[in-house]
């Protein structure tokens, strides 16, 4: 097993474990958020292994560095220290849901091989900021611009939603 | 028929100037919501028609420069409507006929605008009344000029509807009184009936022309294609005279004449005009005496080429006109409201004009139209001066002896009365004489001698009721309360000057139509300058009457006028106690006449009430409230509500994760289907 492969499985295991930690952590929202950070960082590592350097950097910067911080900020702003969520009862529903999820995933994993492309060699700067940037600005300028509109709308929406009414 | 024609871009300015003034006022009042200073309003509103008059004069001089056979100016502004091969252009025509009308409209219109400054000066309501009044007045002038100058029936119809709208707006100008608003509505609704006929006529013309390869609807092309219209006929129901088929021209002529009946207040659609007196007096003078109501006459004359090939329609016009003339004159005899008398007199005089037009004497009709515009405007404005002096009192029962306070008004009013009664040499004498002469000689019309007799009786009645009005107003002793008497005074110069100008024309305008025969007798060739001026445009049918007969007829007419005047003088000056005795003796007849033959009441019972009942019971409560609101709107809502309340609500639990589960299940189903 080569170095990159080792890293892939290590990071993958970390991602799955921390994701489970996030979902199963019923009491502590901040701990759940920290688990999510670990997942994000692990995924960033996996992206590096998969030659997606720019995406990896952005994954860390945006997801780990900004989005989860905002989650934490909100948790702390609302001061959700106390355990506001007593143990949940719907065990049957949950068991069914988890069973269904496992079943579907299993079915998917079972069918998947053979339908996938075989990996090929890629250019040395594949996934770097130059290659991705060139593709982004030369091939996909319209989605890029539309995305900027989406962000503007989100900014305005967030301000309007979270602003305390003066009246 | 006039051929060729010069192009002149002057014409568009004639209607455009008043329109600009109206739009300016509209913007200031409607959008900026403020009222301008009165000096500004006066400058803009009176300036516009005066300028239009000046432009019309310039165009008139251009016209006179042209050789006699080619006197027509055309201004094609833009292509307005294009539908298939039929196109209606926004284009104006200025030929001798529209020149006369245009000068009358702008000239008399300008005078009445100026008069209105004085008449409306005491209108101090806070709804911008002063400016609003002048805005409507300008808009009316614009629409009337569109009607007159329009080069085709469509533009004419635009103006036709425009003047109707302005008439409605101005009759109900003092809308604070519900009665005024009702009168405006009545005028509008009654006019719709006529407009329906007019529209039908236009469609028939379009239908008729589309077969002849004509692409535009202007009057000259219509005239050129009249032969194809004349030879076509249409089937009509068996109960109509002349069934089973009529000439298409007759049908078109009758449809268009229905429009004229509505607009020009002829039997049976005259009922709106007396009520239209609810508007301010300048409006009555401008719209309901001098200009708008003559639009029907103008239209018939403008389409004289059509009526010349439709003898049935012409005969109908003549008889309707004569009947209206007599009918309205009898009503006027017993009215006491000063404006009502004038209103019925207007209806009567319009009947005269249609009588002339029906008899083929189009230039006589236009001649009487012009003179009538002067003396009736004079009479209305004079009555307005009296009403102003009496503090908006219109009932002659409360007047009398006003000569003492209003000598100038009395003088000009007397000139108007003499003119309308037909005393020589006042304007009315010549025009009325030419109509009676034409009727006498119109051999093509069945019963033309009877028509002449009706005209003569009407002349007697006209003289009688006008002098009655004059005596009751200005002669005798004053019946007004002391308090009112103390404040009676002569109106301001701005009111009086237009009266003088109109009085001048009421005296001398008749000489424009000085009969040829008289001219030859005193050595002036072609004395009837108006008839000669109009010769190229109108399908004039010259009566073949000997000079001696003509003189005899004129003498009879003067005698009739004198008889009427003497009767009035006898009853209201020399024996003032007689009228009441006569009224008491002929009680039923007098009441019948005074109550206008109960026509309004009959119409109310026959048409208005059934229609209102139908609208209320069936259309409103049944169709609108029951079917549309109840079944369609509320019913569908109720059905949806029931379905949602008892079925759909269980889908909407409000639990976000329930929705999420549904979504995931749907996605899974989709994936399963894709992977099947």
């Amino acid at each position: 097993m080569s170095g990159p492969q080792l890293f892939f499985y290590l990071f993958g295991a970390a991602a799955v474990v921390s994701a489970l930690g996030m979902v199963l952590n019923v009491r502590n929202t901040v701990a759940a958020a920290m688990c999510l950070v670990v997942t994000m960082i692990s995924l960033g590592g996996i992206y590096v292994v998969l030659d997606a350097h720019l995406v990896a950097a952005l994954q860390i910067m945006v997801y780990a560095g900004a989005i989860v911080v905002v989650f934490l900020f909100v948790v702390m702003l609302l001061n959700l220290r106390r355990d506001a969520f007593p143990p949940e009862r719907q065990r049957v529903t949950k068991a069914l849901g988890v069973g269904l999820a496992i079943g579907v995933t299993w079915d998917f994993l079972r069918r998947m091989p053979g339908a996938l492309p075989t990996a090929r060699e890629v250019a040395p700067d594949f996934g770097g900021y130059r290659a991705v940037g060139r593709a982004l600005f030369l091939e996909y300028p319209l989605p890029f611009e539309i995305t900027s509109l989406l962000l503007l709308g989100a900014i305005v929406g967030a301000v309007v939603l979270a602003k305390r009414r003066l009246d | 028929m006039v051929t060729g024609g010069a192009h002149s871009e002057l014409l568009r300015w004639i209607p455009l100037l008043p329109l600009a003034a109206a739009v300016l006022h509209g913007i200031i009042l409607g959008l900026l919501r403020r009222e301008s200073p009165r000096s500004f309003v006066i400058a803009v509103s009176c300036g516009a028609p005066i300028l239009a008059f000046v432009v019309a004069l310039l165009a008139f001089f251009q016209l006179t420069d042209l050789p006699a056979g080619q006197r027509v100016l055309i201004d094609e502004v833009y292509a307005w409507i294009g539908a298939g091969r039929i196109a209606a252009e926004m284009s104006f025509v200025f030929d001798p006929l529209s020149a006369v009308m245009c000068l009358v409209v702008t000239g008399v219109g300008s005078l009445i605008h100026i008069y209105s400054i004085g008449y409306m000066a005491d209108d101090h309501r806070d709804d911008g009344g002063f400016q609003r009044f002048f805005c409507y007045l300008n808009l009316f002038t614009c629409a009337m000029l569109l009607l007159v100058l329009g080069d085709n029936l469509v533009v004419m119809f635009l103006g036709w509807e425009g003047v109707g709208l302005c008439s409605y707006l101005l009759i109900g100008f003092w809308y604070g009184d519900r009665w005024n608003a009702y009168c405006g509505m009545k005028a509008f609704v009654v006019n719709r009936i006529g407009d329906f006929g007019f529209l039908l006529g236009i469609f028939l013309v379009i239908w008729a022309l589309s077969g002849s390869g004509t692409t535009t609807l202007n009057f000259r092309e219509m005239q050129a294609a009249i032969a194809t219209i004349a030879e076509r006929s249409v089937e009509v129901p068996a109960w109509l005279p002349g069934a089973p088929s009529w000439h298409l021209a007759t049908l078109i002529g009758l449809c268009l004449f229905l429009g004229a009946v509505g607009k020009s207040a002829q039997l049976p659609l005259y009922v709106w005009l007396p009520d239209a007196m609810a508007g301010p007096t300048p409006v009555s003078a401008l719209i309901h005496a001098a200009t708008m109501v003559t639009a029907g006459v103008y239209m018939v004359c403008r389409l004289s080429f059509l009526y010349a090939v439709a003898p049935g329609a012409s005969a109908t016009i003549a008889w309707v006109g004569a009947a209206t003339a007599l009918f309205a004159a009898t009503i006027a005899v017993a009215q006491t409201d000063i404006k009502k008398v004038l209103a019925y007199s207007t209806v009567s005089q319009l009947g005269y004009m249609f009588l002339a037009a029906g008899c083929g004497a189009y230039s006589a009709a236009i001649f009487h139209l012009g003179t009538h515009a002067f003396f009736k405007a004079l009479l209305f404005l004079g009555s307005g001066a009296v009403i102003l002096a009496m503090h908006h009192e219109q009932d002659t029962d409360k007047m009398g002896g006003l000569r003492r306070w209003l000598p100038r008004t009395h003088a000009v009013f007397l000139i108007g009365v003499l003119a309308i009664a037909g005393f020589p040499p006042f304007a009315g004498f010549f025009s009325k004489d030419s109509i009676l002469l034409a009727t006498w000689g119109a051999a093509a019309i069945p019963g033309h001698r009877a028509l002449w007799a009706i005209g003569l009786v009407t002349a007697v009645l006209t003289a009688f009721y006008m002098f009655r009005l004059h005596f009751r107003t200005f002669a005798g002793t004053c019946r007004a309360p002391e308090e009112v008497q103390r404040h009676i005074h002569e109106p301001a110069a701005v009111v009086l000057v237009p009266l003088y100008v109109l009085a001048f024309f009421a005296i001398f305008a008749g000489f424009a139509g000085f009969p040829d025969a008289y001219g030859e007798a005193i050595g002036v060739p072609e004395a009837d300058s108006l008839a000669h001026w109009l010769q190229g445009v109108l399908r004039q049918q010259e009566p073949a009457v000997a000079f001696s007969t003509e003189l005899g007829l004129a003498a009879l007419a003067v005698a009739a006028a004198a008889a009427g005047a003497l009767a009035a003088a006898w009853l209201y000056v020399w024996r003032p106690e007689l009228p009441e005795r006569i009224a008491a003796r002929a009680g039923a007849l007098y009441r019948l006449v005074r109550e206008k033959y109960y026509v309004d009441e009959i119409y109310d019972a026959l048409f208005v009430r059934p229609l209102v009942t139908l609208s209320d019971r069936v259309l409103f409560r049944g169709v609108d409230a029951g079917l549309i609101d109840g079944v369609f709107a509320n019913g569908s809502a109720r059905a949806v509500r029931g379905f949602a309340a008892h079925g759909l609500k269980y889908l909407q639990s409000g639990l976000a994760q329930g929705y999420l589960v549904t979504m995931v299940a749907g996605a899974l189903a989709l994936v399963a289907w894709l992977l099947r």
Binding site: V16, I67, L80, A119, V132, Y140 | -
Partner: protein, 100 residues
């Protein structure tokens, strides 16, 4: 070289975990985080496919997804704050009225 099956498998696993979290947890913030996790799982699949095909389109998609996620978090947390201000609650089952 990582087999693509493994990348996609990991992606599916993470997606399932996120889905279970979104469906079963009642804490609004955790639900939002679970949705983030699902988006990330999709990103992973995109990156894996991009590597396998050797094209940039997949990575462009990831950039778009990141932007969408950021926008979603901004608006979602704005709603959470507004909700908490009105309801004093973070429990998704407490907000089952469609209006108030």
């Amino acid at each position: 070289m990582i087999p693509l099956e493994h990348v996609i498998g990991l992606s599916a696993l993470l997606f399932a975990i996120g889905g279970v979290g979104a469906l079963t947890r009642r804490n609004l913030i955790v639900i939002l985080m679970s949705i983030e996790l699902m988006l990330n799982a999709a990103n992973l699949a995109f990156v894996g496919f991009a590597r396998a095909w050797g094209g940039s389109a997949g990575q462009i998609f990831v950039l778009m997804v990141i932007v969408v996620a950021a926008a979603e978090v901004a608006v979602g947390l704005g709603i959470v704050i507004a909700l908490f201000r009105n309801r004093e609650s973070m429990n998704v089952e407490d907000v089952s009225l469609l209006k108030w």
